[in-house]
Symmetry: C2
Subunit: 435 residues, 2 copies
């Protein structure tokens, strides 16, 4: 079905699975070259993942951080896009099995990104909320607000507590940003919306298994992020792991047990792997081991880049960090290399240019590491906003986000605390295209 | 459960069911008066219904036309809000049965608005799309885009046709605005996104049972709206009724049969009635007959206003038109009257001030009737935009909508053609709180 609908061409066909930062950059660099490019994604839009937490906490509208993939590639003569879920690769036949039928490739690039990693804790996976896609962020927003509504009418003090307590698991950038945003909701928004609730009963915890928050950043950034969060009223627990969560009570390795119906899981990611990629091709974190040309060593003509790939080296024993710049740089080099390979030229090895890292905690509070330069606070916060605004795809999205941020800055408010679709665990779908 | 959580007060309790234009105005006018006000709504937000069609066609983000109800009433000392689905009224006990438990009232105001009326055509109801709520508008947006994606890979020409054909049923303002917006998608947006599709195969029909579009407006407005739509490529069929629709083919009283998987139903509304209001209290269109004080004659202390109410008079034999100004004016008068009634004073009869009506067809194309003054075209279009922008609740929503409109005007584009959640008939919920 799918194959018949695709353009017939004598050019070699490069199939890119995934329209994230890496996949987009790769396709852009192949614009109108002598190859046929086919991109597959389960969504018809690119998701700007770094701002998902703002959607979940009512700061931004979902559509502001999504951008139609077709529009990015408008006017490309050698580009085709299809909404499809890729189920399996059959390397020996050079075929992908997908939800829209079988698709042939000459070169395949897996740019599928990462999924939430619950490290095998099934119960935690069932009851906690992850946040890797826009529908998940919207579910989280609905759940937070629904639990506030329920707390209003709840008479049992213990249950009321559990409806108002938030536990964020994982002290990486996402966990830090989420718990900071929740603290701001507590300070500025919820007391206005729910004057009948005693907001002091709302406790926010951030749980991190290692000794430091923001483990991938400098010691200064880690310490400062912790200080910022504690100033904002977040209880930060480091060196603490989650032992279990039954939907009501979360038990921790410290012996503590917290009643909470709001457990947000940002403790880990793993590569998003399709069938046909065997477990022995993976490294720690479920990423696919690739060589310095982003090629999967044991497979012909199959490449991987970005979060799903681990280009292991002495400097990066677990592969490059799972951030947008790494994916974008790999996409850029891989485009050049694929053209060289097709023309029987020698590809060039990838070289990562670390542009630094940053995280925001809240209003006027962010931490930035750029090489040896470290700074925190107001200026860091403006840098964070500028970089994120500029990285958003599309002029409309930039303007709408900017308007929302300016408005929030002066009003101390969040515009979109709406339960557009009610969240219920029962309604969570198994359809991968709907995730 | 609910009752225990409500404030205890010696003041009489006025319960308002519905946070639409009428309910909001009523509650605002009762601000800090010597009554207790409780508003119930199934959503935690107010929906600006006149712009739903722009959400459905990718022009506006959903959150831009929704406004958190709690925020409107921030700082009111005598106001409480609860998210609840009201199931039944028991007038003899002055109790409402709701999804959060029983709630007592002293005075009850039904401001529940209207639902889509399929006039008993069950099959049409099952297969066509209505658009009265934000989730419905988002479903419609997803369905339109999903059908385009399917058309791309469909090999059967007849099925491909049915995926690309649109039939809008009902030539009132919603139908006119929807078919105009679809025509603009066809002209400016879809050819860029789907260069592989022959856009000339996309036919848009507007079906109206009576001789004229916009039946409630002037003959000039009706004629001009039809001209505008035909200029834009819409096939307008008047004096034609729908005989049946099986999800693939829609059959018309003209003998014609159109293959279409996109049937949008805007042919009628009926009052949104709760149990306990008996059928003999209703007039044509399923609205509740009320007297000139918005009271339901046969029930003590129960009032209705806005779309759900029909204040029948010689001038308005079917009640006032189902538009925002009528609901707002009734809310204003009813607030005064309830305070008078509580203080044993004589209430004043409601008097409707008709402010005119308008509809937009597309870019630079709208029709406006204000009393004897009629105008159409560019100026009408700017008037339409100004009035709608100013009527949006909240500064943030005004600004974001304005930015989107300016951007669309200059770019000829629609920003949000995203399938955030896939639509499937199977996933449509029976939970009234989720609608």
């Amino acid at each position: 079905m799918a194959e018949k609908s695709l353009p017939v061409s004598a050019q070699p066909r490069i199939v890119i699975v995934g329209g994230g930062f890496g996949g987009i950059e790769l396709a852009k660099r192949l614009k109108n070259k002598d190859v046929q490019v086919l991109m597959l994604d389960r969504h018809n839009y690119h998701t700007f993942q770094p701002l998902l937490y703002q959607v979940a906490t009512g700061g931004l509208e979902a559509d502001s951080i999504a951008f139609p993939l077709r529009k990015i590639f408008k006017g490309y003569k050698n580009f085709t896009f299809r909404v499809a879920e890729v189920q399996k690769v059959i390397p020996e036949r050079k075929i992908l099995e997908t939800s829209i039928g079988d698709i042939k490739y000459d070169y395949l690039v897996l740019a599928t990104g990462s999924d939430t990693n619950f490290f095998g804790q099934k119960e935690v996976e069932h009851y906690s909320m992850a946040m890797k896609t826009i529908p998940e962020a919207l579910n989280l927003r609905s759940m937070i607000l629904q639990n506030m509504e329920e707390a209003l009418i709840e008479q049992d003090a213990h249950i009321k507590d559990s409806l108002m307590n938030f536990v964020v698991v994982g002290g990486g950038p996402t966990g830090v940003e989420l718990s900071g945003a929740l603290a701001e909701l507590k300070m500025h928004v919820l007391p206005n919306d729910y004057p009948e609730l005693d907001i002091n009963n709302m406790d926010i915890y951030l749980i991190e298994g290692s000794p430091d928050l923001l483990g991938s950043m400098s010691a200064t950034a880690s310490r400062k992020a912790k200080d910022f969060l504690e100033e904002m009223g977040v209880t930060v627990l480091t060196n603490v792991r989650v032992l279990g969560y039954d939907g009501k009570q979360i038990s921790l390795s410290s012996g503590q047990s917290i009643p909470s119906k709001n457990v947000l899981w940002s403790a880990g990611v793993k590569g998003s792997i399709i069938d046909g990629i065997s477990p022995d091709m993976l490294v720690r974190g479920g990423r696919i081991r690739v060589d310095e040309f982003n090629k999967i060593p044991s497979l012909d003509c199959i490449y991987a880049l970005g979060d799903v790939a681990a280009m292991v080296s002495d400097e990066y024993p677990n592969g490059h960090p799972g951030v947008a710049p790494a994916a974008i740089q790999q996409g850029k080099t891989l485009a050049k290399n694929l053209l060289k390979i097709i023309n029987n030229q020698q590809p060039e090895p990838f070289k990562y240019n670390d542009k630094g890292s940053m995280a925001t905690v809240g209003r006027n509070k962010a931490v930035v590491d750029i090489g040896k330069i470290r700074f925190q606070g107001v200026f860091a916060w403006f840098v964070w906003m500028f970089v994120h605004l500029m990285s958003l795809v599309g002029f409309r999205n930039k303007v709408v986000t900017f308007v929302n941020w300016v408005w929030s800055y002066f009003s101390f408010d969040r515009g979109t605390r709406l339960i557009i679709r009610r969240f219920s665990r029962e309604s969570m779908t198994e359809d991968p295209l709907a995730k």
